[in-house]
């Protein structure tokens, strides 16, 4: 079973992100479960949503305590919430930021995990460019597809199309594709850097 935890703030589409991920996994023939943490939801307050993938029925219904994947939609949370709590040693981390993890101040934390599985993507900026609004969730899913290969960009695009329609769907899909490219390039560069 793969467990994903998404952190963000109310109003950033964290819950929708988890739902779209579950739809993407379903599209790829897997069982998936998505649900929000049930804290006091209001715009700006920290929000957590969870998603699980598996190849058989998912019976577990506890919050994701030991995530294999961490997606952080809002880097300001890093000072407020222990987003890394429980992250598996082989875990993936994708942070919504135009700055690298080292630049954000996560060098120490990153050292505990696998370097090639941690990265950032400027999802808010990409979203602003395509949607005109700073809603980074779809873009982040595109970035996640590139980072992990655990969902395909095609499945992510399909999921976006299920949740949204018309122009909004199209621009979200474009944002996801751009974020996918960004992360793919980041990973290539960092692989070359390591090889050197």
């Amino acid at each position: 079973m793969l467990q994903i935890r998404i952190h963000g703030r109310g109003g950033q589409g964290v819950v929708t992100a988890a739902e779209m991920l579950s739809i993407a996994a379903f599209e790829q023939g897997r069982h998936a479960q998505a649900f929000p943490s049930f804290g006091s939801e209001r715009t700006g307050a920290p929000v957590v949503a969870f998603c699980r993938f598996d190849d058989k029925e998912i019976r577990l219904r506890e919050p994701v305590l030991a995530p294999d994947v961490l997606i952080v939609q809002d880097p300001t949370l890093l000072h407020q919430v222990d987003v890394f709590q429980g992250l598996k040693p082989d875990g993936y981390v994708l942070i919504n930021s135009s700055r690298s993890l080292d630049e954000i101040g996560l060098a120490d934390i990153s050292a505990r995990f696998r370097r090639e599985r941690l990265t950032h993507v400027p999802a808010t900026e990409i979203a602003r460019a395509h949607l005109g609004r700073p809603l980074p969730n779809a873009a982040l899913l595109g970035g996640f597809a590139a980072l992990s290969g655990l969902v395909s960009l095609q499945a992510v695009s399909h999921a976006i199309g299920v949740k949204f329609s018309g122009r909004i769907a199209a621009s979200n899909i474009a944002a996801a594709a751009e974020a996918f490219e960004f992360v793919r390039q980041e990973m290539q560069e960092s692989a070359h850097a390591q090889a050197d």
């Binding site: 998912i58 506890e62 305590l65 919430v81």
Partner: protein
């Protein structure tokens, strides 16, 4: 057809397939997505003919349902928590009159303190009302149970509550296999009322019944629920034949056959328990899970048969009778009268507190070592409880309890669970 959808949406679509004629509802978290979904289907003309009535309170919702059902309409409503309490008088009225209304209860805690998250206190408050109460363990089961509920309720002329955990099921996206209209039509015939308000054959419904006959009328309600004990498994079989999967029935039994310890529970926590049991079994421990799907009527004989081979029974429940202890465990204990085995009540998950696999394994291990008290509150923070008790000893004007505790707990949103 397989879909990846929200639990509430799955229920809305399943209810719509049952061709309800009158839907009346008042919004309350966490049921809102169900009635919104149905409202949309009616307004768009997808679900027709159907009257969708936005009522002004839950009391009105159940009352409108009573009128609609008495006039021969297949009727549906949904509520939770405070809303269920607000309609309580009408809940008893509906079952007393024998009207086969189907209602979803999106299980949520009852205040004070106000709490929108999941536990079973709401349905439990109505367990004596005469409504049948079915508990769904997953969203697939929730949607299936609604289809079965209409059939069951209409056959017996009794109302049915389908209980599903608020947020945990209602707001979770899961895979659901949605039947076709043709499949549901073949399973669920049109509603044929036993009593109906019809100018062609006038009857008076709801007259006063004195001491001469009241006991008999009430006994008949009990007799119908006793009949339901037979019908529920039969309907589950008929459902399996028609739709190709098992849902509903009286109980769900997982690895109980040779279990020394069996955990009994209701609703979605059964899934987490099954995962916990698998892990414990991997460690060589003989443990199983009994999920109760029909809570009213309570399947005393079936529960006894399922548990009598075990040495130990742990009832894990999201409900609590203040001043006594467990609610579900009291019913389970009745089923086990005369049998010699260790019994434990574990109250967990009240007000939406997460029930983790790790806590379950720890608690069950303690039970298996017989190191558990008869009544435990799982993951209770004794620190803040004792601090409050000290506060109350120290001063009379100790302030509102909830606020004191919240201050002790600290900033809630920074925690993962």
């Amino acid at each position: 057809m397989l879909k990846q959808i929200e639990g509430s949406r799955a229920v809305a679509e399943a209810v719509a397939l049952c061709r309800p004629e009158v839907i009346c509802a008042y919004p309350i978290s966490p049921q809102t997505h169900i009635v919104e979904g149905l409202g949309e289907l009616v307004k768009a003309g997808t679900l027709t003919p159907c009257e969708f009535i936005n009522v002004e309170s839950e009391f009105a919702a159940m009352s409108v349902a009573i009128g609609a059902s008495a006039a021969g309409g297949r009727t549906y409503t949904a509520t939770a928590s405070q809303g269920l309490l607000f309609m309580c008088e009408a809940v008893y009225n509906a079952s007393g009159l024998g009207l086969p209304i189907v209602m979803t209860v999106a299980n949520r805690a009852i205040g004070a303190p106000i709490n929108i998250w999941n536990d079973h206190s709401d349905s439990m408050s109505q367990r004596d009302s005469g409504w049948l109460q079915l508990f769904a363990e997953s969203n697939q089961e929730a949607l299936d149970m609604h289809i079965q509920a209409f059939k069951l309720g209409e056959e017996l002329s009794m109302p049915v509550m389908v209980c599903m955990d608020g947020f945990i099921l209602t707001h979770a996206y899961e895979r659901a296999d949605m039947p076709t209209q043709a499949e549901v039509d073949a399973f669920l015939p049109p509603y044929e009322p036993r009593q109906v308000l019809d100018p062609a054959e006038p009857v008076s419904i709801g007259a006063m019944v004195g001491p001469e006959a009241f006991m008999e009328v009430r006994y008949l309600a009990h007799a119908k629920q006793t009949m339901a004990l037979e019908r529920i498994p039969q309907i589950a079989d008929e459902f399996a034949q028609r739709f190709g999967r098992r849902s509903g029935g009286l109980l769900s039994s997982y690895r109980c056959e040779d279990a020394e310890t069996i955990v009994v529970a209701l609703g979605s926590v059964v899934g987490t328990l099954q995962d916990a049991v698998d892990e414990m079994r991997d460690g060589g421990r003989k443990v199983g899970v009994l999920g109760i799907r029909s809570f009213r009527p309570f399947p005393l004989a079936a529960v006894r048969a399922a548990l009598q081979g075990a040495q130990r029974v742990v009832v894990l429940e999201k409900s609590f009778s203040v001043g006594l202890g467990g609610v579900l465990s009291t019913d389970v204990r009745l089923a086990l009268s005369g049998l010699l085995l260790h019994g434990y009540t574990v109250v967990a998950g009240l007000g939406g507190r997460a029930i983790t696999k790790a806590s379950l394994i720890r608690t069950l291990s303690q039970a298996m070592a017989d190191q558990l008290p008869p009544l435990t509150f799982m993951d209770l923070d004794w620190g803040i409880v004792n601090r409050q008790l000290e506060r109350e000893k120290a001063t009379r004007r100790s302030g509102p309890i909830a606020e004191n505790l919240l201050r002790d707990v600290g900033v809630v949103a920074s925690k993962v669970h």
